[in-house]
Structures are given as C-alpha cells and as structure tokens.
Amino acid sequence: MTTHSTAGTFEAAPRPQLAPAARTHSLTKLYGSGPSAVRALDDVSIEFAVGQLTAVMGPSGSGKSTLMHCLAGLDTPTSGRVWLGDTDLTGLGDRALTLLRRRRVGFVFQSLNLLPMLSAQQNMLLPLRLAGRRPDREWMTHVIEALRLADRLDHRPSELSGGQQQRVAVARALLTRPDVIFADEPTGALDSQTGAQMLSFLRTSVRELDQTVVMVTHDPRAATYADRVVLLADGKVAGELTDPDPDAVLDAMRTMGA
C-alpha cells in the first residue's frame, strides 16, 4: 500500500503525549427537570488520548451518545466541564461551538450522514467550504485513495451503498484534519462484512493518518479494532480495557449485565 510510504508526510507536529485530545471533569447531564429528570450522565471524568481509537461501549440508554454529544460540542452539559484539547467548551455560545465543530471536530453518524442533493465530493468538502478553506489537494487525494472512493466522487448519496456512504462520511471527517473524529455507531446500519471494512478504515485513520477517533458502539467485535474500550453503564464509567480482544469485551459486557 502506498499509504505506508507516504504516511509520514502527513504527520502533524509531535504532540505532547500527556495532553489528551478531549477530556471531561465531573460531567453530568440531566434531561428534563425535577424528580422525573433523566440522569443520562452522572459525574463522568474521562480522558481520550491523542492518536488513539477509543471505543465507548455500554448497553442501550447508558449515555454513550450523550457523552459523545457533550464532547463534540453538540450539546451542553448540565454540570461539570468538557475540554477539547485545551479549549474549555463549557460556557461557549452556539456560534463559538459551531465554529469549533467546523474546524476541530469530525463526525460520522449511524446513518443519513450525507446531504442527498450533494455529490459525494461536495459532501466531503462541505465543512471546508463552510469554513471558507481550500482543501489540501495532496491530503484529499490521499484520503480518497485510502477510502477507495476515487470512482464514486460524482455520485449522489442515493447512488451509493451504505458502506460507501459511511466511507464518504469518514472522508468528510478526515479532510479537515480535526483534533478528534467522533463516530456514533458508525457500523450500526451496515452488514457485518461492510462494518468490518469500515472499522479497519477507522483504524487506518488512526494508525496511518495520525487521527484521534472516539467511537460509540455496542458491537463487541467493533471493540477489537480499538486501542482502548471505555465501558459505560447508567451514565457512569463502569470500567475500561486496553488493547482488548473480543472475549475480554464480551466478559466485561456480561458482568455489566448488558
């Protein structure tokens, strides 16, 4: 693969290993108010290291998506703090958060990731266009090659398979070279084979393109692609695994009663 030989070209300036890409302190998120309020996140303090693929796992309703939305500046916490790099997100207004998402965050959602009226390429370039930035041609070619999308650029989303659509979404996230890419159940709508491909693309992004990825999933197999697994239950961190294998993940999930 050519990506091996050229990967070094795209390496960013060495980042101090200690500064996390994102972290929370005592993060709490309530939906609703009064006694009927739902405590989606309860006093969560966690860090996500640079250059790692972290999987956030847990049963349905455990607060995974909420955590991701708070980390990505899509939602504001009820209490506690959230940092992206060294930017404190708590207290930022809607506009500041939007600009931050545009410049420093990439997203891959479970489905309906793309705007139906734009071509694959237009979808990929949208965040850059919104920011008024020109794409780095070399980087773009590289990403498109790595995601094997070169012959799909002019297609509309409706003309792409589910896996291709997700790859376009990954390409869109990669093109801005964000500080963190957040992926919420990126394989949720894919069959197992396409899902596996998707996961290996995400891992390639981390290993060869030097990105940081936080991925929400409840698929134990997905976790095996991750450097680290954070387990969430009832809005609390329930444990974590480093360089996990599927059995360890399944065991951990089982003990949580998922």
């Binding site: 939305h69 899509l74 309906l112 949208l126 919104l130 509309r156």
Partner: protein, 846 residues
C-alpha cells in the same frame, strides 16, 4: 378509519395550517368581491333608476317630442290607473344681481322620489319656487328671497337650453319657499333645478308637454296590464314601458349593457382562486410526499390504496371546509370594511354603497373553496394511494430525471405556448380591423392559452433560472447560497408550483402596468387632440378689459398664454346666399401653438379658413373650397380647410382676421397650465382672476383631461391592489412550501449544524431559498407582463395610433422588490423553525 383521520388531522394540524390559510385568503377575496359587486350593483341601480320600479308604467317622449299635455288627464281616467305624476321640465333664466343665470325648471318631485325637503316647503301655488341644493348654492338664494324669472312662453318651444342672444321680454317675480336635496333622485342629480307648479313651469319655460309621466297602477292590476292600457290610450304618441322595463333600460344605457364591474371583480376572484388552487395543490403534494413513509407503513399493516386515498381525501375536505367557512366570514368583514372606506372617501366617485348580503355571494365562494381544495388535493391524494408498502423500508429516492411523460409534457407545453402566442399576436391584426371586440376576445384567449403553456413549462425553466440566479447568491453568500440553490431546485415540480403561484400575480400586475402605460402613451396624442386647450376665458362683449387680460397673463399656474381676437362674420360659399351669418370667427395669433396641447389641431395657414368638422358637415363646406368672409364692409376670400373637433366653428390667422377687422380687440385669453400643476387650485386661481369682471366665462378642457388621467390612475391602482391579493396568496404558498420543506429536512439541518453551519447561516439558507423562488417568479412575471401588456395595448388600440411600447421600469422594479420582500417575509418563520433545531436532538432522534 375515522379515528385515524381525526388523529392524523390533530397531529398534522400545524401542517394543515398552511393550505388552510391559502383557502381562507382565496375564499375571503372571492366573498368580498362578490359581496361588493352585488352591493355596488344594487346601489348603482338605485342611483340610476330611482323610484321607477314603484310605478306600473312610465310614459316617455317619442322621438324627442314631449308627451302631449292632454295625455296626463287621459291616463288619470283609465280604470287600471291609481295615480299619475307628470314631470314637466324646461329651461329659463334667473336674473340675479351677479347677472343672468340659466336654470332648469321642473314640477315638484314625485312622492316616492328620494329627493327630500331640507328647508321650508314645496311650492303649492303660482309664483312659488323650491330650489335644489345645487341651485340654491349657485344662485345664493335662500327661503324667503324673491327672484326675477324670464318668462319664455312666447319665444321658445323646445326643451333645450336657451341660446345666447335670444331676447326675452317678459319677466315674472317668484318667491323661494323651500330647499330640496334632490341629488338622490336620478331625474335631477346634481343639476341645479328650480321646482314650481306645473302651470308656472309651463308658463316660464314655454315647455308644451311632459318629459315623463309616472303611472301608478291599481293594486289589483298587473304592471303589464296597466302598460298596455296606457299604450292603447296614447296610441303611439309616446313610448310606454313598465317601471321595471324602464329601470332596466336606464341601467343598460348607463353600463352599455355590460356589467363591467362585476366581470372585472369576478375575473380577479377567479385569478385569486386559481392561485389558491396552485398553492393548495402544492401544499398537499408536499404533505403527501412527507408522509410517504407513514403511508407505506399503513399499507404494510394492511390498509388498501383506496383506504389511504379516502383518508387524505377526508382530510382535504375538512381543511377545505374549515378554510372556506373562515374565508367567507373574513370576506364579509373585509367587504364591510371596504364599503365603509369607500363611503368615507368620495374620490372614487362611486354612489353610496349599502352592503347587500347576498346568499349566493356567500354560498358560491364556500363551495368553490371546498371544491378547489379537494380538486387541488386530488392528484397528490391519488399518488398517496400508489405508495408501495415497501417504501417504508426503502430510503427516499430523489425524483428521477427525464421520463417519457415529461417529454410529452414538454412537447404539449411548447405547442400550447406557440398556438396561444400566435392567437395573441394575430388576433388584433386578422380580426381587430373589422371588429375590435372580436380581435380583443381572440387576443385574450390567446393570452390565456399561451400563459397556460408558460405554466406547463415552469418545471423546466424555474429550476434552471433558480440555478442561474443561485450563482449570484453563492457568490454573495457563500455556502448558504449553494445550499439554498440545491434546496430550491431539489424538487423541480415543487419549485415550479411555488414560483408559478407568484408568477401569475406578478404577470398580471406587470401586464396591467405596462399595458396601462403603453395604452396611455399611445393615447396621449388622442387626448391632446381631443382636449387641445386647458383654459379659455371669454367675455360676453367684443373684447376683454385690459386689466383682466393682464391679471390672467400674470397667473403663476400658466405656462403660456395667448390673446385671441374674435369678430362676427358672414360666410358665403360661391355665389349663393350667405352660408352662415353672425358666426364668431376667432383669430389665431402666431404664439397660439404655445398654449395648445396639440398645435396641429389649430394650425391655420395664411389665407385659409379652419372649419370645425361638424360645422363643415352642417354647412356643406369642403376642404379646398373658396369662401368669401365678410366682416362689416370689408371682405376677403379664404380657402376652406376642414379640421377636427374644434373649440369654435371658424378660425383664421390673426393677420387675416385683422385685415377684415383692424380694430378687433382681445376677445379671449387662452392658458396652458404648467406641467404637474394642481388642477383644483389652478382652476380656482383662474376663476378668481375672472370673477371681478361680470360676464366672463371660463371654459376649456383641463378638468376633463385631468379627469381622464385620474380615472385611469384610479382604475390602475384598484386593479393593482386587487391583483396584489393573488401575490399575497402566493407568498403564503412560498411560506407553506418552505415550512414544510424545513420540517422535511429537520435531519439535514441538524447534520449541517453538526458539521459547522451556524444558526445564522442556516437562516440565511432558508431566506435565500425563498428569495430565489420569488425572484424567479417576479422576474419571469415582469418579462411576461411586458409582453402581454404590449400585446393587450396593441389589441385595444387596433386601427388607432401605432402602439408604442412604454415600460414603467420604476413601477416594475417596485413590483419585483415587493415580491422579493414578500418572499423574505414568508421565509422568516420557516427559517426560525429551521434554526431552532438542536443538532444533538435531531440526530439522536434518527
């Protein structure tokens, strides 16, 4: 099924607000215009026909000869007749301290007349007078005053206004005993009238018969029976009609047999309904499209296509009914408010408007509203029934490109367009020369057909134009511009329908503006020819006092003045007896051209005698003929030149006139007002300047001229305002489509917000989408309006002046700006709703 319908209606109430508003406005407009038309018609009818329908028969002069005097008594004695009111009408003169004044005399109003005594009493015996308000105001007479009345018994015989210079030897004294407000009776209107006993009117005016005899029938006798009895008794000496027949006759005379006002208002109502139908149909189409998944799910769990259709159909009926009823109520309120406004401002010159609540004016719009809603919803409803159960599981596909059907559609649309345009252009040329009306009808038909073609084509050019304009938008606004274009053209049918609704209104407004301006520019020459002199001041004597002339010439409102001499001349053509004696001959000075609106009307060359067309006909004079003109002892030979309609019968150059009468003084002063002078105050200034000299007469065509252009302006304003309603409906349509699109794209909006579109940019995107759609509608509408306006003016002016296209760019620009602003306003709520989407919530909801 009913529970489902109710649940669906309740859940979708907010979405149905959009089509309901379109129905409400459309129906309200139709109701208001129908109610106003019926009210206006009955008010006009009352104003024109007065109390005629109270009478079984009306006897009228036959061939201008008054109804013979004995007829009144003959009729009174008929068995079917209960009573008779005979109206004797004639002219005579008051001698007032300020000079003589012509006044119409009449027997007192009938008991059923709308004329009311406002002071004193009616004249009951000889030597007594009652004056109409206008007569009292003009003469300055009050109850108790005495006035001298010329007695014309021996000198006159016909019912025309007395000519100047007819001698009157006898005078009678009369006492004013009452003042009558006679304006409400169409027999008198605002004409100054003096009322006196039959014997006095006969004596003073010399009128030997009746102008009208109203016959009241016995209660048992039918009007037709009385009419034939009366007709038989009079034996062809007079025209006899039933009261209702005469009322209809007067109405037909006044309106030319055409209920123009009603036709116009209904035409606008039809336009409003058509635009509503476009908007309603589009809104339903969007609703059904939005509910595809839901519908498919229903089909999955076992609903048949027919059941689904019934569901949507019932919904459209409910929406139509609620909208229509609300619309009728709103329309009645609107009509009442407008009637009040019209009654308060007399500017329109309409008769007093009493609101008539006509059941048809309420039922018809309501039925039409429901019908239009159901019809407009029919196509989407039919489509809803075709939704396959599997679509619940499939992602929504974007509309596919060119199908066979769309090619057929294109060909049909082009054929319709070409055929319509051909009719529009050829109509006036082929038919208009012989029959203006036929040419006009063919042109209107062609216009309508070609416009249908334009609407059929809209799916092609609306997206294309939106893209073109979108380039500008993306250059100015960046990514929101791009997104707006993509949003606008995503569904060509929807974009076309949205913008077509606006297109209709703007096209019609632009057509009226361009047509109006083109017609009046082309007709300006006609008007100048008909009304060449603004003001003519002439005296009764041979020449005007020098100070009066100087005063008139110093008036600030006069752009130019001219002094004209006048003599009394005798004309002889060939060797025969004099053709005309004692005729006024007016001399045209060299600077006369400065005061004339159209100098060619009164262009006398040395040695010629300019003769009025009518006078030339009466005296059998033809252009090129030589006549001898004699003034006193001097005479000269001039060549006749027959002109058009002239203010005086004969004109010669001042030099020619002075050769005949070297001492002739200034008999007339003519004025031309400065452009844009305020007419009422200008006329007042002239009248004030002329007032000090007794016997000065101020005439001229400035008032008529102003009236014509004012009438045109008012008509144009009213038409524009009425068409504005359709623009309002169209804007509601834009708002509808946008808010539904915004709902449809909630997830997309959230996605955009997540990847970095700011709230402001999202709002801008929605606003730009509205602007693009309205810009396309407004610009195409203006372009079409220019074409149709020109074609319309051309059809109207067939055989007259050549049609000079004159485009009121300023006003058209204003129309475009208004349409754009309206589109922008329509986008405010949808934009706000789009921007309120919380990205996390919307994404999590998937």
């Amino acid at each position: 099924m009913l529970t489902l319908t109710l649940a669906s209606l309740r859940q979708q109430a907010r979405r149905y607000l959009a089509p309901a508003i379109a129905v409400v406005i459309g129906v309200a407009f139709v109701t208001a215009s129908m109610t106003l038309t019926t009210s206006l018609r009955s008010s006009t009818q009352a104003a024109l026909t007065g109390d005629l329908s109270h009478y079984a028969a009306v006897v009228l002069p036959s061939q201008g000869a008054p109804v013979p005097e004995p007829a009144a008594q003959t009729l009174r004695d008929l068995p079917g007749v209960a009573g008779v009111v005979a109206h004797r009408v004639g002219w005579t003169r008051f001698t007032l301290p300020s000079g003589p004044r012509d006044v119409q005399f009449s027997t007192p109003p009938s008991p059923t007349s709308a004329a009311r005594l406002v002071d004193g009493r009616m004249p009951t015996s000889g030597g007594e007078l009652a004056l109409s308000r206008s007569a009292a105001a003009g003469s300055g007479l009050r109850v108790g005053d005495t006035v001298r009345v010329d007695d014309l018994t021996h000198s006159r015989g016909s019912a025309t206004a007395p000519d100047d210079g007819v001698g009157s030897q006898h005078r009678a004294a009369a006492t004013v005993v009452g003042i009558i407000d006679a304006a409400a009776d169409p027999r008198y209107g605002s004409t100054p009238v003096a009322f006196a006993t039959d014997a006095d009117v006969a004596a003073w005016t010399g009128e030997e018969g009746y102008r009208e005899i109203d016959v009241a029938g016995q209660p048992a006798a039918s009007a037709e029976h009385v009419r034939s009895e009366v007709a038989a008794a009079l034996g062809g000496q007079a025209v006899v009609r039933t009261g209702d027949e005469q009322a209809q006759h007067l109405l037909a005379q006044a309106t030319g047999g055409v209920d123009l006002l009603g036709i116009l208002l209904l035409a606008f109502a039809a336009v409003a309904l058509f635009v509503s139908a476009l908007v309603i149909g589009n809104t339903f189409a969007v609703l059904v499209a939005r509910r595809r998944r839901e519908t498919a799910l229903l089909r999955c769990v076992g609903a048949t296509g027919a059941q689904v259709r019934r569901l949507v159909l019932v919904e459209s009926c409910v929406v139509g009914l609620v909208g229509a009823l609300t619309g009728v109520a709103l329309g009645l309120g609107l009509a009442a408010a407008l009637a009040r406004l019209a009654n308060r401002s007399a500017a329109l010159g309409l008769p007093q408007l009493d609101l008539a609540f006509d059941p048809t004016a309420m039922a018809l719009p309501a039925v039409a509203g429901v019908a239009v809603t159901v019809l407009a919803a029919a196509l989407p409803v039919w489509r809803a029934g075709r939704v396959a159960p599997l679509e619940a599981l499939r992602p929504a596909l974007p509309p596919t490109g060119r199908s066979r059907a769309s090619t057929v559609r294109l060909v049909v649309a082009l054929l319709v367009l070409v055929a319509g345009t051909a009719l529009l252009v050829a109509g006036p040329t082929v038919f208009g020369e012989q029959d203006l009306m036929l040419g006009l009808v063919v042109a209107i038909l062609g216009g309508a057909v070609s416009f249908a073609g334009v609407l059929l084509l809209s799916r092609r050019y609306v997206p294309a134009l939106a893209r073109l304009l979108g380039r500008l938008a993306s250059r100015l606004a960046g990514p929101p511009g791009d997104l707006a274009v993509e949003g606008a053209v995503r569904n060509p049918a929807r974009a076309a329908a949205t913008s077509a609704a606006l297109l209709v209104g703007v096209t019609l407004i632009a057509m009226m503006l361009v047509g109006g301006q083109t017609a009046s520019a082309s007709a300006a020459h006609e008007i100048d020819r008909h009304y060449p002199v603004d003001v003519m001041v002439s005296g009764s004597g041979a020449s005007l006092p020098a100070d009066a002339v100087a005063r008139l010439e110093r008036l600030g409102v006069a752009a130019a003045t001219a002094r004209l001499p006048q003599v009394t001349a005798e004309l002889t053509a060939g060797r025969g007896a004099p053709t005309a004696e004692g005729m006024p001959l007016v001399g045209l000075p060299t600077d006369a051209a400065d005061v004339l609106r159209d100098p060619s009307v009164l262009a006398a060359t040395p040695g010629t005698l300019l003769v009025d067309q009518q006078v030339a006909q009466d005296t059998r004079l033809a252009t090129g003929e030589r006549v001898i003109v004699k003034v006193g002892e001097r005479h000269t030979s001039l060549v006749v030149h027959v002109g058009g309609r002239l203010p005086y019968p004969y004109f010669a150059t001042e030099a020619d006139l002075r050769r005949l009468a070297p001492q002739a003084g200034v008999a007339q002063v003519w004025l031309r007002f400065t452009e844009g002078a305020d007419l009422p105050s200008a006329m007042e200034a002239v009248n004030a300047a002329a007032a000090d000299v007794p016997g000065l007469v101020v005439s001229g065509s400035a008032p008529e001229r102003a009236q014509i252009s004012e009438a045109l302006d008012v008509a144009l304003l009213v038409v524009t305002a009425l068409l504005g309603i359709s623009v309002l409906i169209a804007v509601v349509g834009i708002g509808n489509t946008l808010s539904l699109s915004v709902l449809e794209r909630t997830h997309e909006s959230a996605l955009l917000r997540a990847i970095g579109l700011t709230r402001g940019q999202l709002r801008l995107t929605v606003a730009l989408e509205a602007l693009l759609l309205s810009a396309v509608g407004a610009i195409v509408g203006c372009a079409l309006g220019i074409g149709y306006g020109w074609a319309g003016a051309r059809a109207l002016l067939t055989g007259q002046a050549t049609t000079l296209l004159s485009v009121p760019w300023g006003r058209l620009g204003l129309v475009v700006v208004v349409a754009l602003v309206a589109g922008l306003v329509a986008s405010v709520l949808p934009a706000r709703r789009a921007a309120a989407v919380a990205p996390a919530v919307a994404l999590a909801a998937e």
